[in-house]
């Protein structure tokens, strides 16, 4: 399969959208494009399994490599492994759901869908890039649509949040840029596979690893650079919140894994304790901060900080199971948070409030929405049967495999945060959907077909991973093994 298709499809969709007239045409085109993309992603997964089944053991499959800027050694090099495919599937599902949720976006609908599709294009390009320049190019493409989406269609202090998000993410990519330069001038290559075969001297790694890791970490809400997350998510329109949490934060996690850890494994070992420390702080701080929130979107945003902490923790622990868990957690968190934001958006569009205190008894008038709201909550607190349980469990198991006693303490603390999660989730869910219903909400209607469909796609993903985790483990297993081979071989000077 030619992977460029994954970039071309959104590009064509976006261009067609520009020539459409009115909401009705635009949304149909956007949905059509994203559904085809989802189909293509599943097809890609099947092809990948087939490729592995016939014994193709190369690190990356379906590669294509074209020279782009020859004098500088920049190539347009693309290829996928299991981790990229998992991310692409996640992105495609969230995009379809996001477009369905914004089915009735009246305000500047053409621009809205155009930017959504453009944002998804950046993410697809990022996940399939095997060249650091191309990767960086797509990473930055995804920033501007976020700024405009939040600033134009957002609510609350939207301009502030949009600016904060854009500047912090740009600062992240500025740090990544310095890291890339360091790698480039050491190896004279931008190609990830070529670089992974070379050995970067440890002093160089130690200098540039923080740039790359923190740079990507800002995208993944690494503590203390997480502050764009709550404001950005809370101010964004529903679809943009879903994209932010479901796709955009995953760019960071993926970058930390694929660029920082994979290319500079010795430094990853060297700095593991700092990464784990920051991740543990993020997990616990995020959980406690969530307890204090009264706005549903803020609850979900802060809990995202906490949950993304598990991703960073998994990467920092550097065992195969923990990295597996980190990838699982990225997928699971993407689906679950997107679902959560979708549910919050649906509730908000009907009740016009997101304050927990003002809501109550919604189960009586909107059973479907309330159900998905509770499902996403339960997934978030790690109930068995949903993806959250599988992912967090894997991270914890992997983390425990790391024999260092301080790391085990971190693992225990991270486990304990689940209790806090349970507290705020159950409290919010209980107050919102249970109890007596206010008179003003009595006449509200339940979800429409588009919202049901959007939720269904995400719920299917969550449950599928939850009850059949081997499906996704099969997908990502061999790829995390490749990463581990790189990381495990790293010899540490003692």
């Amino acid at each position: 399969m030619n992977l460029s298709l994954l970039i071309l499809l959104p590009l064509v969709t976006a261009l067609v959208i520009l020539f459409c007239k009115g909401l009705k045409q635009v949304r149909v085109v956007a949905l059509l494009g994203s559904v085809i993309q989802l189909g293509a992603s599943f097809w890609l997964m099947l092809l990948y399994w087939h490729e592995r089944a016939i014994g193709n053991n190369s690190t990356m499959v379906f590669q294509s490599n074209y020279t782009w800027f020859k004098p500088l050694g920049i190539n347009y090099h693309i290829g996928v492994d299991g981790i990229s495919i998992a991310m692409i599937l996640l992105t495609a599902s969230v995009v379809v759901a996001g477009i369905l949720v914004s089915w009735t976006m009246e305000k500047l609908s053409k621009e809205f869908f155009f930017l959504l599709v453009l944002l998804s294009m950046g993410a697809y390009g990022f996940f399939i890039s095997l060249d650091l320049f191309t990767l960086f190019f797509f990473l930055e493409i995804a920033v501007i649509p976020k700024f405009l989406l939040i600033g134009i269609w957002g609510s609350g202090k939207k301009e502030y949040s949009a600016m904060k998000l854009a500047l912090m993410l740009m600062a992240g990519s500025a740090l990544v840029f310095v890291g890339l330069m360091g790698i480039y001038y050491q190896t004279h290559s931008f190609d990830i596979l070529t670089i992974s075969q070379m050995h970067i001297p440890i002093e160089v790694q130690k200098f540039f690893f923080p740039f790359a890791f923190i740079g990507f970490g800002i995208f993944a809400a690494l503590f203390p650079f997480h502050t764009w997350v709550p404001d950005g998510h809370a101010s964004a329109p529903t679809a943009a919140s879903m994209f932010l949490a479901g796709i955009s934060m995953k760019l960071g996690g993926y970058g930390c894994l694929r660029v920082a850890t994979f290319l500079m494994p010795e430094a990853a070992h060297e700095y593991a304790w700092i990464i784990i420390l920051l991740a543990t702080i993020a997990i616990i701080y995020g959980a406690f901060a969530t307890m204090m929130q009264t706005d549903l979107k803020y609850i979900n945003a802060y809990s995202s900080v906490s949950h993304c902490g598990f991703v960073i923790l998994g990467i920092g622990m550097l065992t195969q199971t923990s990295i597996n868990g980190a990838v699982l957690q990225m997928v699971s968190h993407g689906l679950m948070t997107a679902l959560f934001f979708a549910a919050i958006g649906m509730i908000y569009s009907r009740t016009h409030t997101r304050m927990v205190a003002q809501l109550g008894g919604l189960l009586k008038v909107m059973p479907f929405i309330s159900t998905i709201f509770v499902i996403s909550g339960l997934c978030s607190l790690g109930l068995p049967g949903f993806s959250g349980f599988v992912a967090e469990m894997t991270v914890f198991m992997g983390s425990w495999q790391n024999p260092d006693k301080w790391y085990r303490l971190a693992t225990i603390l991270a486990c304990a945060s689940i209790v806090v999660t349970a507290v705020y989730i159950l409290r919010a869910a209980g107050k919102t959907v249970m109890g007596p219903i206010g008179n003003e909400y009595a006449g509200l209607t339940d979800a429409r077909w588009n919202e049901k469909l959007a939720a269904a796609i995400l719920v299917i993903g969550i449950v599928a991973i939850g009850i059949a985790p081997f499906l996704i483990n099969q997908l990502i297993g061999s790829s995390t093994e490749n990463i581990m081979r790189q990381v495990g071989n790293a010899v540490l000077p003692k």
Binding site: I144, F147, A162, A174, F177
Partner: protein, 469 residues
């Protein structure tokens, strides 16, 4: 010899011919501005297209004048820029009394820049520089009724006179130390003796004046604000580009032996320029002042690229200037249109611009993104390659500070985007009708912004012509 003369000097000769043609038109019977502008635009396009017809290499007048494919390309970039500016100033000049004079001044400066770029001798360089400066000061004062314009012109002429004095002093010292002012002979005589380095510093200051690098930037903002928009865009794009072309080639060839000394100077100058340009741009409200400071910061980034002193460094500088021509002229195109019709030049006036002029808003947004360096616009590629060339020296602190400054610059570009898309306004700028000529210019700029970056052949071509050490 005679054929050489006509072939090597062909671009200069065409510009001179256009100047004389315009003079004769001025002497003849009165014509309507529309027809004059139409013909001038076509002439300038032919001038631009003609530049591509043959690539030659050679020298004239005992090495005073030299040309090669790279210089031809640089002149073509300037030709393109002046054509675009002419297209964009259509709505301003349509009703102006002195259309032909405007072009006479502009083309004279262009001629000066051509000679400056082609100079193989410090005196020739000086001559070209003066020819490109003095008519420009007159052009700055082109809105005769505006007091601010005269002030700007005065400021400009005094500060350029000052920088010329520095330059001449530097040239005389160079001559005193090495006994030659011919570029090809100078390289052999360059020494790192204190007197020579002092002479170099004087020359460097003169260059820094022209490209408005900090701390020689103080004239920039006032002059940009006072001048008519067309002249401002000319100042910020063409005149800067021309001096930068010479700057990079002189540093890379003549002053190669003292590269260690000028690397440090360039390092400090570039950091200062980026930081100060950015900090001042943060709080500007007048669009022209805003672009003045942002262009100062851009020059800082260009100097980072120059400091790389490799083939990639030179290529990235010329490549970035080409991109800068497209991006800055797209921005100025929109601003000059708005300014000509409504007289509004403040960023706050652009609030809710999107509700009335979506097309212009998108063009301005793309231009600003390109200036900020956001993909997929060409500005991203330009900045990336500049900083990459700068990083070749292994000075990662410079690169780190520069790339963090990109974030700062991002803020002020986004501020404009925010005003246009997100803010409310009681009286937004009314719906403007865009004249066909201006539309053409804007479309060319937008296509340039997108194609120059993604299509690597442009960079490859420039790279193949460049040289470094």
């Amino acid at each position: 010899m005679v054929t050489d003369f006509f072939i090597l000097l062909r671009q200069e000769l065409v510009v001179t011919a256009i100047i004389f043609l315009l003079l004769f038109v001025k002497l003849g019977k009165d014509r309507s501005n529309e027809s004059i502008l139409g013909w001038v635009n076509i002439l300038l396009f032919l001038n631009f297209a003609y530049g591509f017809c043959c690539n030659t290499e050679g020298m004239l007048f005992s090495e005073m004048f030299k040309t090669n494919p790279l210089i031809v390309l640089e002149k073509n970039i300037l030709n393109l820029a002046i054509w675009l500016i002419s297209l964009q100033s259509y709505s301003w000049l349509k009703t102006h009394k002195h259309v032909i004079e405007f072009y006479l001044l502009l083309l004279s400066t262009l001629l000066g820049m051509f000679f400056m770029i082609s100079s193989g001798n410090l005196l020739m360089f000086y001559l070209g520089l003066e020819l490109s400066t003095i008519p420009l000061a007159a052009a700055v004062n082109f809105d005769l009724s505006r007091r601010q314009s005269s002030e700007a012109a005065m400021k400009m002429i005094i500060s350029s006179a000052f920088s010329s004095a520095l330059l001449l002093f530097g040239i005389s010292l160079v001559y005193g130390v090495s006994g030659t002012i011919v570029f090809s002979e100078m390289a052999a005589h360059v020494s790192s003796s204190p007197l020579y380095v002092f002479a170099f510093i004087l020359l460097l200051s003169a260059f820094a004046f022209k490209i408005s690098a900090v701390p020689f930037h103080l004239w920039t903002a006032d002059v940009y604000e006072g001048a008519p928009v067309a002249v401002t865009s000319y100042l910020s794009v063409v005149s800067k580009a021309a001096v930068l072309f010479v700057f990079v080639s002189v540093l890379y060839t003549v002053f190669k032996p003292i590269a260690g000394a000028w690397y440090n100077m360039l390092f400090i100058l570039s950091l200062l320029t980026i930081i100060i340009g950015n900090l001042f741009a943060l709080r500007q409200n007048n669009f022209k002042r805003f672009l003045a400071f942002s262009s100062i910061a851009q020059v800082g980034f260009i100097m980072v690229g120059i400091s790389g002193s490799s083939q990639a460094g030179m290529a990235s500088v010329i490549y970035f200037i080409l991109i800068y021509v497209f991006s800055n002229l797209a921005a100025f195109g929109v601003i000059s249109l708005v300014s000509a019709v409504t007289g509004k030049e403040n960023i706050t006036d652009y609030k809710a611009f999107y509700t009335t002029n979506p097309l212009l808003t998108w063009i301005l947004t793309i231009a600003l993104f390109s200036l900020a360096g956001v993909p997929p616009t060409a500005g991203f590629f330009g900045k990336f390659f500049l900083l990459m060339a700068g990083a070749a020296k292994g000075n990662y602190w410079l690169i780190g500070i520069a790339s963090l400054n990109m974030v700062v610059s991002f803020y002020y570009y986004l501020r404009v985007v925010k005003a246009m898309f997100m803010d409310d306004n009681e009286e937004p700028i009314e719906k403007l009708s865009i004249p066909a000529w201006s539309k053409l210019a804007l479309y060319i700029c937008v296509i340039g912004i997108i194609v120059t970056g993604l299509a690597s052949c442009v960079y490859d071509y420039i790279f193949s012509l460049s040289s470094g050490f």
